[in-house]
Symmetry: C2
Subunit: 269 residues, 2 copies
């Protein structure tokens, strides 16, 4: 019924070396023991894993699949045990779910500088279900763009993320204090990432070299400031609403601390 992790490790070593003798040596056990363990493992699983001749060891389809699974499972178990030991040493932990569209680096940097003892787990989510890790308990906080008000979640709007126009410092508009969307009419706007740029850095390269102007959220503008680029607030651009969702059943010190930090970040602008 339970998968035996020791046997899984034995199997993974044999699969890696394709050789019982060398695998046994690596595992610090005698070769006959390894043969017997693998055989027993195959019986427990109910399927053959290895095709052995006296001169070669090959993987069956099931064996190949199990080998790939083992390469996921074994390190993840080791990491889990490490986290348990950390918790035993008093390390607090906060798992934050975020969709790729949301910029969380500032809040996390600020939070970790204040709470150096708290370990952060970043859990990437699929953008169409940003609340999933929250619901299945894998995260305590989730970043969302729009407002979910589904049951069991507590939504905390942490502010409008204002948008900035990013342009070359030499651009005529760069002398202004702020802009409106009307000022940008007729400007060449970069719809990135496009065929030439996919990284945000390349985007700023393009802007700096005069290929156009882009609208970016405050947090991006702040973290990519360079002397040859100007960022101007666009007063009437629709802000991007960012929310934090927290599960209703947990309200500890760490969680409250992060909410405060995240809110403060956006407020400060």
């Amino acid at each position: 019924m339970d998968l035996d992790l020791r046997k899984l490790r034995y199997f993974a070593t044999v699969a890696e070396h394709r050789h019982f003798g060398r695998a046994a040596e690596r595992l610090f056990i005698a070769q006959p023991v390894l043969s017997r363990q693998i055989k027993s493992f195959e019986q427990e699983l109910g399927c053959k894993l290895l095709i052995r001749t006296t001169r070669s060891v090959e993987l069956t389809a099931a064996g190949q699949q199990l080998y790939e699974e083992a390469q996921q499972i074994l390190p993840s178990i080791a990491a889990a045990v490490r986290r348990v030991h950390d918790a035993d040493q008093g390390v607090q932990r906060l798992a934050i779910a975020f969709s790729p569209g949301l910029y969380v680096a500032d809040a996390i940097r600020e939070f970790t500088s204040r709470h150096a003892d708290v370990e952060i787990d970043l859990i990437p989510t699929r953008w169409w279900e940003p609340d999933r890790p929250l619901r299945d308990g894998r995260a305590q906080i989730a970043y969302l763009r729009r407002q979910f008000d589904e049951s069991g979640l507590h939504i905390v709007p942490i502010g409008q993320d204002p948008r900035f126009a990013c342009m070359p410092a030499a651009h005529p508009l760069a002398a202004r204090q702020e802009l409106s969307m009307a000022d940008l009419d007729g400007e060449r706007m970069l719809d990135v990432p496009n065929r030439r740029t996919s990284s945000i850095e390349e985007k700023f390269e393009l802007i700096a070299s005069g290929h156009g102007i882009a609208l970016v959220p405050l947090s991006v503008a702040r973290s990519y400031s360079r002397p040859d680029l100007a960022h101007l607030p666009v007063t009437d651009a629709p802000g991007i609403e960012t929310c934090l969702a927290v599960a209703t059943d947990r309200h500890d010190r760490v969680l409250r601390g992060f909410l405060e930090t995240a809110t403060a970040i956006l407020r400060r602008g």
Copy 2:
């Protein structure tokens, strides 16, 4: 050294019930056995997991952490074993990595209808490292926007995804059959999709409420059609290059089949 999954299951059951007797009953073992196994488990891990009095059972911090880990580990192991059994029954499997910005549903639907015997694993990636699952063996195929030519990956451009202008249905241009980039001069263009700024849904909200026009790939236009939006092909807009990356070390029938399907999809338009 190896975590004992049986003991982990025992512990998880005790943690769930907070009661040795009932947990033992659920596990179909005698209560003293359970007590001894938990004690042994704590010694193996090197930390206390439970605070027991004769009338109550509580979790320590380490115990709480381990309980959460167990809720991830145990189902994932069961799923892994299922996949191994599937593989043993001849079920082929294909893991596809994709960043949220890339639309893969059409290709997958088409592929599964042709290869009903192949199980698809969808692996969401962080957009800044879309090739990660490929490199660590968790996926056989990765969707990318731009051309990575890093070592060990084989890049297959599967075509230009033509771009459509998305605008309110009431917009003057919406009556046209097709557009050129010149027609869009002076229009307010929305700087999305930008993985750092906005969800797709929000983008279409903005467009519908008259805040601008956006260029979107065909696949996105097709899957987000709504009555108040119009999508018109832009004949001279540079297409968005979509690539598939495959690990160089695997070239089986299933993988080749998917490449063909994905290419055909984009060709058909």
